[in-house]
């Protein structure tokens, strides 16, 4: 075993242990407190939990790569909303409406293209201006939200297509369509980040940008690609979610960036860049959703969830720091 791989295993494993702990807690204590007849660990309930984790989870996969690369993206919530508006509105365009159900793939394409384009704008600005990604995406969070409002005013955009709803509600091998998308995205991002040159370079850039530059890695294009990916994934998340619900408010997706970052940090990815992996992020996403669902199961009001998740986030940060400090001290002696 390489030095440090044990602590790495402990850290990547920790989030899954936490998920198991949550499941045990809500399965035993939750069921005693709960007034509902169905047990928390009923398969249907667990499958539903996974399905509901998908919208945040799909974006979190892109955020993991962005954060490994040493950047951050605060505009994902606005991108999510704009892609949703384009998805639903484009289906009512005359030439699209005339196409019947063949309009669906085209509408998906438009929404995903818009997402990738918004991501590319962020990436290009970060690359070419050298302004910190936090500021760039803070700005575009406002700007993209403004575009959502300019598109359709303050009205909700609605277009319920039953073929789409059937597709989004379908269950294949028990798992819902959104869950399949989440798993597919996770698998793809795992492959991209661990098995490709691009993924390896993303770690290198996040770990030590100067060293990466000196090693001849072109930092800019890698950052651009990562922003395109997260824009695309934010749109994919919208596509999966709004295919089912069929109506989007201009304020939808607000605070998504914060939920996504919370999930990624719970999964052990460092803001400073250079470390993290998508499998642990999946754990973080599931942990949050199980917590929400479990507290709801116990009859706790929704506000408690915010309180608990906030405190857990801080506790994880603290524990992680303590473990790392201990590890480094152990190496010294």
């Amino acid at each position: 075993m390489k030095p440090g791989s044990l602590s790495t295993f402990l850290r990547t494993g920790a989030i899954w242990a936490f998920v198991l702990l949550e499941l045990a807690f809500f399965g035993i204590v939750g069921d005693m407190v709960s007034t509902s007849n169905t047990p928390f660990l009923a398969p249907d309930n667990l499958l539903l939990t996974l399905k509901q984790a998908a919208p945040i989870g799909i974006i979190a996969m892109g955020m993991t790569l962005i954060m490994i690369n040493g950047n951050i993206d605060l505009s994902v919530g606005a991108t999510f909303a704009l892609a949703a508006v384009v998805l639903l509105d484009s289906m009512s365009w005359p030439f699209m409406a005339a196409m019947g159900d063949w309009a669906i793939p085209l509408a998906w394409f438009f929404a995903l293209a818009v997402g990738a384009l918004l991501g590319a704008i962020n990436g290009l600005i970060v690359w070419k201006t050298g302004v910190d990604a936090f500021i760039v995406t803070l700005g575009s969070m406002l700007g993209y939200r403004g575009l959502v409002f300019m598109y359709n005013g303050e009205q909700p955009t609605s277009n319920l297509n039953w073929t789409l709803v059937d597709f989004a509600e379908a269950q294949f091998l028990g798992l819902h369509t959104p869950t399949w998308f989440l798993l597919a995205v996770t698998l793809f991002m795992w492959f991209l980040s661990t098995k490709t040159v691009h993924g390896r370079n993303a770690y290198a850039i996040g770990n030590n940008r100067e060293a990466a530059v000196n090693a001849g890695i072109r930092v800019g294009p890698h950052m651009l690609i990562n922003f395109v990916i997260i824009g695309f994934l934010a749109a994919l998340s919208a596509v999966v979610f709004y295919s089912e619900s069929g109506s989007v408010n201009p304020n939808d997706g607000q605070l998504y960036e914060l939920w996504v970052i919370t999930a990624v940090v719970l999964g052990g990815t460092k803001l400073a860049g250079g470390s993290g992996n998508v499998i642990s992020t999946l754990g973080g996403v599931i942990a949050i959703q199980v917590l929400r669902k479990g507290l709801g199961h116990m009859g706790a009001a929704t506000e408690t969830v915010n309180l608990v998740i906030g405190l857990i986030l801080i506790a994880v940060l603290f524990l992680d720091r303590q473990l790392n400090v201990k590890g480094r001290e152990a190496l010294k002696t």
Binding site: G139, R145, F149, M223, L258, I261, L307, L317
Partner: protein, 348 residues
């Protein structure tokens, strides 16, 4: 660093060929203009905006309108003053939005239970406790401020909802309370929120620019290690910055509550990022060590006047989001471009 920055221009021009061939000659003058714009850019932009909007609609510059804009920017402005301290010390405070909802809801609720005279100090004390918790985690435990205050954003929102039970909070006897004095009264024709904002801005401005504490804030944000070695207690300085931020948030909550005498739980939601935008627009660097209270005030006013000006020329309120986006990026970009002496970043 020097090695990397020396290397990259050559590879950059080799890769991009013809397009960059003109930059050495044009680059200098560009840097000169950019340098001027970066030093005084925020003021220049402010003046240009004011002239432009005045030409478009003369009502824009009327005293009533100007006072109205400053008045409605005061709440955001007061919060931005505190966040300026935190940002200069090299940290972030994303919890100010939900902390503002907390203080608004708490003071409105306590108003009817223990009277305004006790409710106000009680609310300040509770809000300062939250600020102290932030300061303890970031200052003494040295945890990452972005994540800590992100967690606090969520936690305080939960706390607010638990306090109010999710219901809107209203003062029962709206006509018979003197509590409305902070948000609705005028002194010498000037609305109270403006006076409080300006008073707080001058006090904190002097504190930051003229006192030893202010210099410690810059030192800690500029180079924390050097500050520690020169005997500055970093943790205590950061802690105090978060207390100042919480104090400003409590003041903002008081203004908000006093102005509307009733509130939803979501009142401050999303304001943390608007506040940060104003502070950055004022030229404070997120890396810490730079920024002033005066520039933050200008940043706040720019956001307020843009919003108002766009409405007056007949555009929808949401156009301001897009305009703000462009302005923030341009402001920070020109600032960086002036420091490095070239417009485009040297990132390959």
């Amino acid at each position: 660093m020097t090695e990397a920055s020396e290397k990259t221009p050559s590879t950059g021009s080799a890769a991009r060929g013809g397009t960059t061939a003109a930059t050495p000659a044009g680059g200098l003058s560009k840097a000169g203009i950019a340098g001027f714009l970066a030093r005084q850019g925020i003021l220049v932009a402010f003046v240009l905006f004011m002239i432009g909007f005045t030409l478009a609609n003369e009502r824009f510059i009327s005293p009533d309108n100007v006072l109205g804009v400053i008045r409605s920017s005061a709440i955001l402005g007061v919060m931005a003053l505190g966040v300026t301290f935190v940002v200069i010390s090299g940290n972030l405070d994303l919890s100010v939005g939900s902390m503002m909802s907390f203080s608004t809801i708490v003071v409105l609720d306590l108003h009817d239970q223990i009277g305004p005279g006790l409710a106000i100090p009680a609310m300040f004390a509770l809000t300062l406790c939250l600020g102290a918790f932030n300061g303890f985690l970031v200052g003494y435990l040295k945890l990452n401020s972005l994540i800590v205050t992100l967690g606090m954003l969520s936690a305080i929102h939960g706390l607010t909802l638990t306090w109010s039970g999710g219901k809107n909070m209203d003062i029962a006897d709206k006509a018979g309370t003197w509590f409305s004095v902070f948000g609705q009264e005028r002194v010498l024709g000037i609305p109270m929120p403006i006076l409080i904002f300006l008073l707080l801005a001058s006090l904190l401005g002097i504190m930051l620019a003229k006192t030893p504490f202010g210099r410690k804030v810059y030192a800690v944000g500029g180079n924390g290690t050097a500050a520690t070695f020169s005997g500055i207690r970093r943790a205590r300085t950061v802690f105090t910055c978060y207390l100042i931020s919480a104090f400003c948030v409590a003041t903002a909550g008081l203004l908000q509550a006093s102005r509307s005498l009733g509130s939803q739980n979501t009142v401050g939601q999303g304001m943390e990022l608007e506040v940060l935008a104003a502070v950055i627009l004022g030229g404070a660097s997120l890396l810490g060590g730079s920024g002033t209270i005066f520039k933050t005030v200008i940043g706040v006013l720019i956001l307020g006047f843009i919003q108002n000006g766009l409405l007056l020329v007949g555009l929808q309120f949401y156009v301001q989001y897009v305009v703000t986006w462009v302005i923030i990026i341009l402001a920070v970009w020109l600032d960086i471009a002036a420091k490095r002496g070239r417009l485009l970043s040297p990132i390959a």
